[in-house]
Every structure is written in C-alpha cells, then in structure tokens.
C-alpha cells in the first residue's frame, strides 16, 4: 500500500549557475557528456512525432499533456499514473531492473532524486542544454534536480516553500494571536487545548517529511553527502532546538493523534480539531478539494521562526520530471519535459492549482496578487514567494532517503506513542540509516 506521507523536496542552494552564469556548471563537469542533442534535433523529433510514456501522479499534467498533443499533432502523450510516490518508485525500480517497460518520462520528488542520480539511472539533461535553464528556476528546486552532483538530472516541476496554514475562525474564537515564533506556537498550543480540549494546534504522529523540513529550518544539517561518502548526525544544535520545542508539544499532549492524509485528518481540518498546519505551498489545492466545509476559515502566515529575529524557511515536497536512462524517444521526451516545466505548460499548471518552481512566475505580479477565495481573499502567494526566497541553501538529503523515510516511524515514531524521547528516536533512526547505508555499499560515518 502507498505510504501516505508527504515526500520532501530535495536539496536547496544557490547553485553555481546563479553565481557563475548560465552554463558554468555543466560545461566544467564533463564526464558523462558523451552525446549532445541540439534544439534542431528536438524540433525534428517533434515534427516526426511519436508516442511518449509519462509516469506521473501530478493531476495538473493531464491538461498539459492534452495541450502538448494539440500543439504537436504527431505526438501522443500517454500519461500513466503508475502509483503515488513510493509506489511509483518501486514500479520504476522494477522496470529498470527488468530493463523493460521503462517510461520515457518519470515524475520524481527531490528527496528521491539522489538514489537515481547516483546510480546513473537518469539521462543527463545537460546533453540537451538544460544547464541554460538554471536561471529560470528558484535555487532550491534547481539544486534538487542536481542531487549533490553537478549535472542536471531532471527539470523542476513544482516546489513547496513552507508556510503556516491556520484556521482563523478557531484562533479568533479563543483570542489566540498568530504565532510568529515556535515559542509563541507552543503557547498558542497550550492556550488552545486548554480552551477546548478537543482542539489541537496541529496533528502530528511522526512524519519524516515534516520533521526533516523543520530540522532544515532550525538550521540542523544531519546529512552530508560527498559522492558515496555519507555522514548522518542528528546531534547538532539545530536538531536540539527542534527537539526541545517539539518534545514539549508531545509531552503535554498538544498534538492531535490524527494521521495525515487520512479521512479523519481531512475531517479534522474542516471541523476545527486541527488549528494549524506547517507545510508546503502546494497545500491550498488539497484544502480546496478536501476541506470544502471550512472555506473562508483558513489563512496563511509565514512559518514561525526559531528565534525572534529569524527569517529562515525550508522546502517541503515538490517534484521534477526526469528521463530514465532506459527510456526511449529522448529528444521528444525532453521537449515535453521542457514544455511542462519551463514552457507554456507552467501557466496551465498554475491555473489548475500547482505551485511553481520558476522564479519568473514566483515574482510576477499576477501571481503574487492572486486572491484566494478559500483564504477569504488573502493574497497568499506573496507569503509563499517570500518563503521560497528565505529557504536556507545548504540542505542535503541522503542518497537513499526513500528507504530512510520508510523506517522513520519504526524509530522516531516511538517518541509519539511511548516513553522514548524525540532525541532518542532520532538517534535510533540515525543508527538504522547508517547500517543500511553501509550494507548498500556507501561509506557512512556518524
């Protein structure tokens, strides 16, 4: 069964591209650049037409595929929902092992990119001149598609700069101010739960994606990756900052024991049981479709800070479109990926509720001035765009984060249901991740 946990955005950083100019990264790295596909080749492929198989679960791609087919009459895009996140990665891995049925294009989240990039299962997009696109994307997602190497393995499709979604109606009812720091957040949690024992500041039963994002924001850098040399350490100052606050929320039973993405969770978001949600900027679409009854109640605020004068943020979720090495129709596939991620497809996707990874869109007035009826007319994109700009730029995920996240609840989850502390939980997560990495041939140090 699918893991219903939200997957994280992988990697962030002001990459060399921004600082050194458009093609600097790609040109210097050399190595695998054995082939080169020119714009002419791509145009020829479009003219010739053919069928593309695209594995993606992102709902807004449907319209994009239809538009692309219309624009290029010879091309047929077969959009296949091969499962959601983990299910699709399994399917992709299986197809790659079998060397058969590999799609031409696959959606891969940033946090999972490392595994494919490191094992050379993705086509190097620098060969198509993707390096030139670096300036088009916000730095976080762009580093995500580089996955700790200096090649481009995919084109960013969306991103998830974090913000605090809160139920204003609930806050107003109990006279609670919107928290700007996590300390205020803790107080708000206490006040709210005291005023209404059925209401909680948020729901959390242990979610690897949210925890790593908050660690990221708190300045913790647990993972260091240098090729196949990996370091894992959850004992830095940032991690302590996070666990101190979160441990109190757990100990004082201020977190609703409702599992994210379940039926119960959607209901609890609608009836005031869950008052806030710290998550990625893609959340509005889910609220609009899943929590209809609370339309107008919710608002967006900047993510609370770990210190009074802080201005840090983090990414949560987001994915890119990649070309698996064993896929076919490379030129055509690249044309589609570019159309969907950096071309006309972006506007279509935004219209349907996706959150962009392209700087031009993030900074456009039209985008920032969009009023959300669901948020009582609030121009929420302003907050999201600011968050995107404040994302700390030196985070990195493990090259086997998919597995690490899958055992998060085996280890850190204990802190939510037994006497284990969060810090101890992180320690055993660390140990399990180290063991796995070593078994898989990485050199992992604690």
């Amino acid at each position: 069964m699918p893991k219903h946990s939200r997957r994280l955005l992988r990697g962030i950083g002001l990459v060399c591209a921004l600082a050194l100019g458009v093609t600097a990264c790609g040109d210097e790295s050399g190595g695998s650049g054995q082939k080169s596909v020119s714009q002419d080749d791509i145009r020829a492929a479009l003219e010739k037409g053919g069928t593309l198989t695209v594995w993606a679960w992102e709902p807004t791609l449907k319209q994009v595929a239809a538009d692309f087919e219309k624009k290029h009459p010879g091309v047929e895009v077969e959009l296949v929902n091969a499962g959601t996140n983990n299910d699709q990665y399994t399917a992709l891995q299986n197809a790659i092992s079998a060397k058969k049925g590999v799609p031409d294009v696959a959606q891969i989240e940033y946090y999972a990119m490392g595994q494919y990039a490191l094992t050379k299962q993705l086509t190097d997009l620098e060969d198509f001149g993707a390096g030139k696109l670096s300036a088009k994307f916000s730095p976080g997602p762009w580093q995500g598609v580089q996955a700790g190497t200096n090649r481009v393995h995919a084109l960013p499709m969306d991103s998830g700069p974090m913000a605090l979604f809160y139920n204003k109606k609930v806050f107003d009812k109990y006279g609670i101010e919107t928290p700007t720091t996590w300390a205020e957040y803790l107080d708000a949690a206490r006040d709210l739960h005291k005023a209404d024992p059925k209401a909680y500041i948020t729901a959390d039963t242990g979610d690897a994606g949210v925890t790593t994002s908050l660690l990221w924001q708190a300045g913790s850098r647990p993972y260091t990756v240098n090729g196949t040399k990996v370091g894992i350490d959850f004992s830095d100052e940032g991690a302590k900052t996070y666990t101190d606050t979160w441990q109190k929320l757990i100990d004082e039973k201020l977190l609703a024991p409702v599992n994210p993405w379940t039926d119960d969770w959607y209901k609890a978001l609608g009836d005031g049981t869950i008052a806030t949600l710290a998550t990625g900027a893609w959340m509005p679409a889910n609220l609009v479709s899943g929590v209809k009854e609370a339309a107008g109640d919710w608002r967006v605020a900047p993510l609370p800070q770990w210190s009074a004068d802080g201005r840090s943020s983090a990414e949560n979720g987001g994915s890119a479109l990649a070309l698996p090495e064993l896929g076919k129709n490379e030129a055509l596939a690249y044309a589609f990926v570019e159309y969907a991620s950096a071309g006309d497809g972006v506007a279509t996707r935004l219209e349907n509720g996706a959150f962009p990874a392209t700087t031009a869109d993030l900074q456009s007035t039209a985008f920032q001035d969009t009023a959300f009826d669901y948020f009582g007319g609030q121009k929420a994109n302003k907050i999201f765009a600011e968050s995107a700009a404040n994302v700390a730029d030196d985070w990195s995920y493990l090259p086997y984060q998919v597995y690490a996240n899958s055992i998060f609840n085996d280890t850190v989850g204990k802190a939510y249901v037994s006497g284990t502390t969060l810090a101890e939980g992180l320690k055993s997560w660390q140990q399990a991740s180290v063991d796995y990495g070593n078994k898989q041939g990485f050199t992992v140090a604690k």
Binding site: M1, P2, K3, H4, S5, N86, T90, Q93, Q115, L118, T119, T205, G206, T228, P257, V258, N259, W261, T262, D263, D264, K267, A268, T273, P399, Y400, V402, Y403, S406, I407, N409, D410, G413, K414, Y416, V417, S418, Y436, K439, Q440, G441, F442
Partner: protein, 308 residues
Amino acid sequence: MTTPLSPGAAAPRPAPPRAARSRRSWTGWGFLGPFVAVFALVFLAPIGYSLYLSLFRDRLIGGNTFVGLDNYRQALGDERFWAALGRISLFLAVQVPVMLGIALLVALALDSGRLYGRDFFRVSIFLPYAVPAVVATLMWGFMYGTRFGLVGDVNDALGVSLPDPLSPGLVLASIGNIVTWEFVGYNMLIFYAALRVVPHSLYEAAQIDGAGQLRVITAIKLPAIRGALVIATIFSVIGSFQLFNEPSILQPLAPNAVTTDYTPNFYTYSLSFNGQQHNYSATVAIVMGLITMAIAYVVQLRGMRKGG
C-alpha cells in the same frame, strides 16, 4: 496412505485406496500436467529464482556479488525478523483458535438443526468472505477511527471512551479481528460441509445408547470431521504466517504501531520494495517458508495422532 496431505489423511472422510485407481501408469500426469505446468511457472520458478538470489548481494554502490550463505547467516541473527516471527506466533496462537473455535461452534449449531432460519444464518455469516481483503481492511480502518469512525460514534453516543483500536497495544488484536471477520464464515462452511456427510446411522446408534448432545459431538462429530479440522488449521497457519494485506493497509492509519517489520511477510516486502534489498528479502522469505512448512507438518502429524 502416507502422503502427508492426501485426502485419506485430511479429507472429511478417508477414501480407501482400492480399485478406484485402475493401474499405476503415467496417464494421470496427462490430467495433472496442466496444473503442474502453470504451478511450476507461477510458484516453483520464482522460488528457484529466489533461492538463486539469496546467494547474492546486489548493492546500490558496488554492484552484485556472490556471498554464499551470508544472507542466511544474517537472517538467523536478525532481531527484527525474529521479533516479527514472535509477534506473528502470538497472533497465530490466539487468532487461529478463536477463529476456528467460533467457526466450529456455528457449524455445530447449524448442523444441530435447532436454529431458526438456518439457511439465513449460513449464508449471512459466510458473506464477509466475499469482501476483498483490501475493502475489508479499508472498511474496518474507517470504523476503528476514534474520532469519526464507528468507535468514535459509540464513544459519543454512550459517553464512554473505548481505547483506540489502532494504538500499539491493541493493533495486533484489531488485525486479528479483521482476519477473523473475513474467515469465520469460510471455515464455518468447510466444517459444516464436513458435518453434513457424517453418516446418520452413527447418531442413531449413539442415541440408542443414551448419549447426550455433547457426547455425540465429542465422540462422533468431531472425530468424523478431523480431516477438515486439520486442513483448515493448516491453511489458517499458512494464512497467518503470510499476514500482509491487513497490516500494510492499516499502516497509514497506525504508522507508529504497525512498523515496517511488523510481520515477517511485511518485513520481506519492506526490504524489497522500500529498501531494494531483493536478495536479503528472498532469503528471509525462504527461511519463513521453511518454518511455515515445518509448523504445518507438525499440525498435520499431531492432528493425525490425536485422531488415530
């Protein structure tokens, strides 16, 4: 008849091996062949392939190497595997007797002819078997919800606070409940069918001897359906040891209670599907298959001896 699981051993009634089998020849293979061919393709070949895989280790970095019996050595010392096996043994020791006990009691009640509306009972109790495990688990998962599920409704309505069925302490019992719900009717039907062919003359003889209902059950009915009891137990043991659908579907609802190594089968799944450790996963599966076979064999032997 020495075949471990031939009808003579486990069927409702022994079939005397007599003239029925005309002559020892290869003719039978003509009829059995198609089954065996597909069976070989779907079961034996993957098992053979798994045996082969279990001797290797394919790593994300460093590629595939032959490691001999290393994986087996690792499995024998794997705490997570043994913990899962312990958990499932507890499950088996409680859930299988409860399920088969209820099934047997209902079958005896149906067979006694003392029920009003017997046909209605028989069909209705059997119905859950027709519900796909996926649907059954989704359904129970919804109902287990303490907030909006049936458990929550009951709490609200009666002003009580039932414990959360999906908490770590109770989730095993909750899974057991789902499995019991799905298969009580199925086992009941097997027992009932076996009971229905017990020769009536035996009861009459017993009644003439003045035996009560209870005595008839223990002295005649139960021994007569021994074969059905044994085969149902064996299939239930195998089913329990392979417990997978229910925990895997409940996991998103109880992520901290249902760990990725919750049952041996779920563990092999996680190793293979989340961890890309196909070789080790195959090893654990083979070890688990051997253990299951051993236990099924013991059940069968004991079942025979008792009856014997």
